[in-house]
């Protein structure tokens, strides 16, 4: 039957076609290929929605569609395939929706601002979207890795879009390089998965999570390279996690993300909300059945997530540029998702992934709108008072900010709260390490509230603090439209899964639970819960969601209140100065960049130069030395030929005598 699933490849291919179109004939198209991109992504969006509904009807799809490398004689066959289950269907919708909105927004941000190189821009967007979609629908780890890498390439191209300036190329390089460092571990992980299981499929009875599970039960034997199966699976899982840490900007590989703000703002929205950064977390969710087998992996994920959430949030407190604040908030929020995954809250994390996609896209686009208005000045200290000049932007931005801060009933509240709740529950249920992560996550709520409202207040409230702020540039429908759509979503998306409300009222309104609870066997949230209990030893403590929810809400409000208290002036002062040395540390991001730059410049560079000297001097020196010695000895040898014939006669005689003597002695002639 030619069902909707037969069109799933088109979801990926449409943006790809728009990439080709923009690249090839973008110059001749109106708006530099923007319309091609919009049409393509909108088409993808529609198909995704159709897919979404098909999946909600209970259908799933897991099909190999292309053999990349066919292994003969029993060697592994490497394939591409589609895996459409509730998780990927949901993600498809999110990605295509945000991609479409970003395309539209770009009309305002790029075209209207008279940027050059638009075909390149739209080609990049198209490829970016296509890569991310390919990643989302991947049915095996290798395919996921490949698109994961392509996502990295696109981020490089788009972050470095303004290549004529010094900053963006450097930021692009850093983004690719740092994530590449993570991907190295990921690739080792992929290879290890193949070597261990002979397959890298996500779903089905021959999938590697399933095989791993069987191996732990002793029902199936796999090559674990001499380790205990669970130890080995932990190692493999952590290797793959390297890629996640890189792409999702988790500590310590988060440093690329703030720099990536050098890219055009719509790209930032795309990267941080729905594509590249989300890819990491999505990957963990995708193969959650594997991680769920290893409590060690889960704890590490949770700790990384919790720490990153807090760590990034503190840095967000002191930033001056609006996009920098958003950048650190992104890192922090992905920390929450990791915390959720590590803490056994698969649904919670997925939920947060979804809500975050909406409100973070919103915030970035809103910031983009502000930046347009401010003539590309991003310093919040030169803004102020924009509330009245750009109401649409303000209210939508406020919606996103409330969501980010986790204020009820905006989307972020529900999802973040559930993340923290799940962690707490499992932490109390016998995995005390999670409590540490929980504490960090909880503390971060306060900071989140603070920096979010500091940003809002500095940007929109008070008096304009610069000429441009007094007379901002207007924005068009193409900017406002996406903002409104996302603003609504940011406010409402959380309603799909109001766990505390469900708890209170007993209503069956946890739609996301139901959604993720069905689908392909082995990939359902129910199965994951079983695994967590049986393999990872995660047990849920009996605590209701209300109290923890109230605690975090209170903290968020406290943070927001403090910000209001400090910055709701007509002429706010830089209170952060009072932090003294701590501000310097925070402003310099705990010197994270410094040590990584130090590693690169003061360790790797001298090392490589030393190696070069060694190579030139010693390795090549030996080669040249052999040649010199040969020629020198040649020069000595030819001096024998003195030109005096008498000397020749002497040498001849001596030679002959020596020969005779030698042979005489050897042959016993005497």
């Amino acid at each position: 039957m030619a069902g909707i699933f037969d069109f799933v490849p088109a979801i990926v291919l449409l943006p790809f076609v728009s990439f080709l179109v923009a690249l090839a004939v973008g110059n001749r198209l109106p708006k530099g290929g923007a319309f091609a991109g919009i049409v393509a992504t909108a088409g993808s969006f529609l198909l995704s929605v159709a897919t979404f509904f098909t999946v909600s009807g209970g259908q799933t799809y897991n099909q190999t569609i292309y053999t990349w490398a066919n292994g003969l004689d029993g060697a592994v066959t490497l394939t591409f395939g589609l895996l459409i289950d509730p998780l990927s269907a949901m993600m498809l919708v999110i990605v295509t929706l945000i991609a479409t909105l970003v395309h539209v927004f770009s009309l305002g941000y790029m075209n209207d601002e008279g940027e050059t190189g638009l075909p390149r821009y739209y080609a990049g967007l198209g490829l970016f979207t296509a890569s991310m979609l390919g990643f989302v629908v991947a049915d095996n780890l290798l395919m996921a890795f490949m698109f994961f890498e392509l996502v990295g390439l696109c981020s490089y191209l788009l972050i470095g879009f303004w290549f004529r300036e010094p900053g963006p190329p450097s930021a692009a390089k850093k983004a690719f390089l740092v994530t590449r460092f993570g991907d190295y571990f990921f690739l080792v992980g992929v290879v290890a998965v193949f070597a261990t299981f002979g397959t890298a499929a996500f779903a089905g009875s021959e999938s590697f999570p399933h095989l791993a599970e069987q191996a732990l039960h002793g029902e199936h034997s796999v090559n674990t390279f001499g380790f205990e199966p669970r130890t080995w699976f932990t190692i493999v899982g952590l290797l793959v996690l390297g890629g996640v840490v890189g792409k999702s900007a988790q500590f310590p590989l988060h440093t690329w993300l703030p720099d990536a703000m050098e890219g055009p703002t719509p790209v930032s929205a795309l990267i941080h909300a729905a594509t590249m950064v989300a890819a990491g977390v999505y990957l963990v969710a995708r193969m959650y059945g594997f991680y769920a087998l290893s409590p060690t992996s889960l704890s590490i994920i949770a700790l990384i997530g919790g720490f990153t959430a807090l760590f990034a949030a503190t840095m967000g407190v002191v930033k001056r540029e609006i996009k920098q604040v958003l950048a650190y908030s992104t890192i922090s929020q992905y920390g929450y998702m990791m915390l959720g995954l590590g803490g056994g809250g698969y649904i919670a994390a997925t939920f947060h992934l979804m809500t975050h996609a909406f409100f973070k896209a919103l915030l970035f686009l809103g910031a983009g709108s502000v930046i347009i208005a401010m003539h590309h000045n991003e310093n919040m200290w030169e803004m102020g008072g924009l509330k009245d000049k750009m109401p649409v932007t303000y209210y939508t931005f406020l919606s996103g900010s409330l969501a980010l801060a986790g204020i009820v009933p905006f989307a972020g509240f529900w999802s973040k709260d559930e993340v923290l709740y799940e962690t707490l529950v499992h932490g109390l249920g016998g995995s005390p390490i999670l409590l540490v992560a929980y504490a960090m996550g909880l503390l971060a709520v306060f900071f989140t509230g603070f920096y979010t409202f500091r940003m809002v207040l500095l940007t929109f409230h008070g008096e304009p603090r610069s000429q441009t702020a007094r007379d901002p540039h207007g924005v068009h429908w193409n900017v406002k439209g996406p903002l409104v759509v996302l603003g609504i979503l940011a406010a409402t998306a959380g309603l799909v899964n109001m766990t505390p409300v469900a708890e209170l009222t007993g209503l069956e309104i946890e739609f996301l639970h139901q959604w993720l609870g069905h689908g392909i066997e082995g990939l359902t949230s129910h199965h994951y819960v079983e695994l967590l209990e049986s393999q990872a030893g995660y047990h849920a403590a009996e605590i209701g969601p209300i109290v923890p929810g109230l605690v975090s809400l209170a903290l968020a409000l406290a943070g927001a209140g403090l910000a209001y208290f400090l910055y709701n002036d007509a002429e706010p002062t830089e209170h952060t100065d009072k932090l003294g040395g701590a501000k310097t540390v925070l402003y310099n991001n705990y010197y994270q960049d410094e040590y990584q730059v130090w590693l690169a410049n003061s360790l790797v560079q001298p090392f490589s130069r030393g190696a070069d000297k060694f190579d030139q001097g010693v390795v090549d020196g030996v080669v040249n030395g052999v040649s010199s010695v040969s020629l020198l000895s040649g020069n000595r040898v030819r001096r024998i030929q003195s030109g005096v014939v008498s000397n020749y006669a002497v040498l001849l005689t001596l030679g002959l005598t020596a020969l005779i003597l030698g042979f005489g002695l050897l042959g016993g002639w005497f």
């Binding site: 003969l72 392509l150 080792v188 190696a611 080669v623």
Partner: protein, 509 residues
């Protein structure tokens, strides 16, 4: 007789171009070099070999007759193709044409000689990849040196004479070492072989027919011969620490010669390693797995680290070739389908990609007359198309998925990680894989400093977009890289068929 025809066409084309006037030589050479492409593609379409040519598999386009007799052993004119050599033949023909076209701009003196030598080199390269008799193979193997010497020496950079002679003598010494090792081995086989045909020798060696020779018992002889041949071929590959001729040769060589050098000549080394050491003496190779794997890892990491320190774009790519060829060695020693097959695939893939990179550097050099990273920045502003392809090529080099380099490297990694020849192979593999990070480091750094940022160029030349015929070969190569990256099975199927028989005493599939 197709193979003879292919080689003969290239030889005749070389002669014709030699005597043609300088003005037309480039066009003529390019046109004539299309004939071998057509030929090799036709052969590809008719390719029907299965199995490994050396291990009893059926051989495509085989010709075999006695050429002469040397001390009781017949030397045959014996040529043919199997799944290992077929891709390399296609690579050679295509790359030659593209290199010739890329020479139109930079080569402005003695054109007829230049293009004649290019075609002459092509003929010999085809011979290397098709010959199945040791002596025939060796003739072509050595003959490749001659045109390369001239190409570097006449049309090269400031230190071209040094580089040419270094390349010449260094690789020649290596050949001699290899020759002695191999011949000793053949005589160690005694009466069990009657000719210098490689299949016969390979089967006899694998059949355990080796006896002692010249005071060495069979085991010692095999080991000594293996080491001599490994070193001999290793120079060509090149492996660390036998690599120092390569950067010099590359830096001084004119772009088209660099393309051929990196694209095809280096593959001769790995091809020979595969054909000789790893096919004929799997037992020794596996006994030496630790040193060989170590050499591979060191080549990868050391080459990459050196590339990091370079300021000359060509030197960067040159050292990165050392690094990339280290992967091939790693794949070979793995003795798995994906390891050895991936190594073979990587030969083709790296041939295309390194050719692309050298060409791209060359196109920039044509305009700026410098390759030093510090001498320019923001070139992308003036040369957008070239820079775009440069970026694409660089990402190909970094192993971007869906480009050929990723396929090759991934196959190798996968094969090597799963290899059972030694318990530490996963560790070696993981160590070598770190090369993908360093390669990204130096290529990105170089691109950032040259292509991007504000436009700055201190030279007196005007920097403008390159001519169509300069960019076209780049685009074709890029396309091929992507095609092979998306559909590696185009070659990987036949490669596997040829490779799997090698593994039967090895670590499995």
């Amino acid at each position: 007789m197709l193979i003879e025809g292919l080689i003969a066409v290239a030889f005749v084309a070389a002669l014709v171009v030699f005597v043609s006037p300088n003005e037309y030589a480039g066009r003529l050479a390019a046109a004539l070099s299309l004939l071998p492409i057509v030929g090799s593609l036709y052969m590809w379409s008719q390719f029907d070999a299965t199995g490994n040519a050396l291990l009893g598999g059926s051989i495509a386009f085989e010709t075999d007759f006695v050429w002469l007799t040397l001390g009781g052993l017949d030397v045959h004119w014996f040529v043919g193709l199997d799944g290992i050599s077929m891709p390399l033949v296609v690579l050679t023909t295509i790359l030659t044409t593209l290199a010739i076209v890329s020479a139109w701009t930079p080569i402005d003196t003695r054109q007829s000689q230049f293009y004649g030598l290019m075609l002459f080199m092509e003929a010999n390269l085809l011979g290397v990849f098709t010959a199945l008799d040791f002596f025939v193979w060796f003739v072509f193997w050595e003959a490749v040196l001659v045109p390369m010497y001239f190409l570097v020496g006449i049309w090269g950079g400031p230190r071209r004479k040094y580089a040419a002679i270094k390349f010449f003598v260094y690789t020649n010494i290596a050949s001699l070492a290899m020759f002695i090792g191999f011949i000793a081995l053949v005589f160690g086989l005694g009466d069990s072989v009657s000719s210098m045909r490689l299949p016969e020798i390979a089967m006899a060696l694998r059949g355990g027919e080796l006896g002692g020779f010249a005071g060495l018992d069979a085991g010692a002889l095999k080991l000594a011969a293996f080491v001599a041949m490994f070193i001999g071929f290793g120079v060509k590959v090149p492996i660390v620490p036998l690599h120092t001729w390569l950067p010099d040769a590359h830096v001084e060589a004119p772009t088209p010669a660099s393309v051929m050098l990196a694209g095809v000549l280096l593959k001769m080394g790995t091809y020979a390693l595969l054909r000789f050491n790893f096919t004929m003496m799997p037992d020794v190779a596996q006994a030496l797995v630790v040193p060989i794997a170590l050499i591979a890892v060191i080549s990868v990491i050391y080459g990459a680290v050196l590339a990091l320190a370079q300021q000359d774009l060509k030197r960067i790519v040159a050292y990165s070739s050392v690094s990339s060829m280290g992967y091939v060695i790693l794949g070979l020693i793995a003795y798995t389908t994906y390891g050895v097959g991936g190594a073979t695939f990587q030969m083709v893939a790296h041939g295309l990609i390194s050719g692309l990179m050298f060409m791209a550097v060359g196109v920039i050099y044509n305009t700026t007359h410098t390759r030093m990273v510090g001498d320019m920045s923001g070139i992308a502003d003036r040369m957008p198309v070239t820079s775009g392809i440069f970026v694409a090529g660089a990402f190909g080099y970094m192993g971007l998925p869906l480009m050929a380099g990723f396929a090759g490297e991934f196959f190798i990694f996968q094969g090597a990680f799963a290899s059972t020849v030694h318990a530490a192979m996963p560790l070696f593999t993981a160590a070598a894989m770190f090369g993908i990070v360093i390669v990204a480091g130096y290529l990105l750094l170089a691109m950032q400093r040259t292509l991007f940022g504000p436009f700055r160029f201190d030279g007196e030349y005007e920097v403008t977009e390159a001519a169509f015929h300069d960019v076209a070969p780049l685009a074709v190569l890029l396309l091929l890289v992507i095609v092979l990256g998306v559909a590696p099975d185009l070659f990987f199927q036949m490669i596997q068929q040829a490779v799997n028989p090698i593994l039967q005493t090895g670590g499995g599939l």
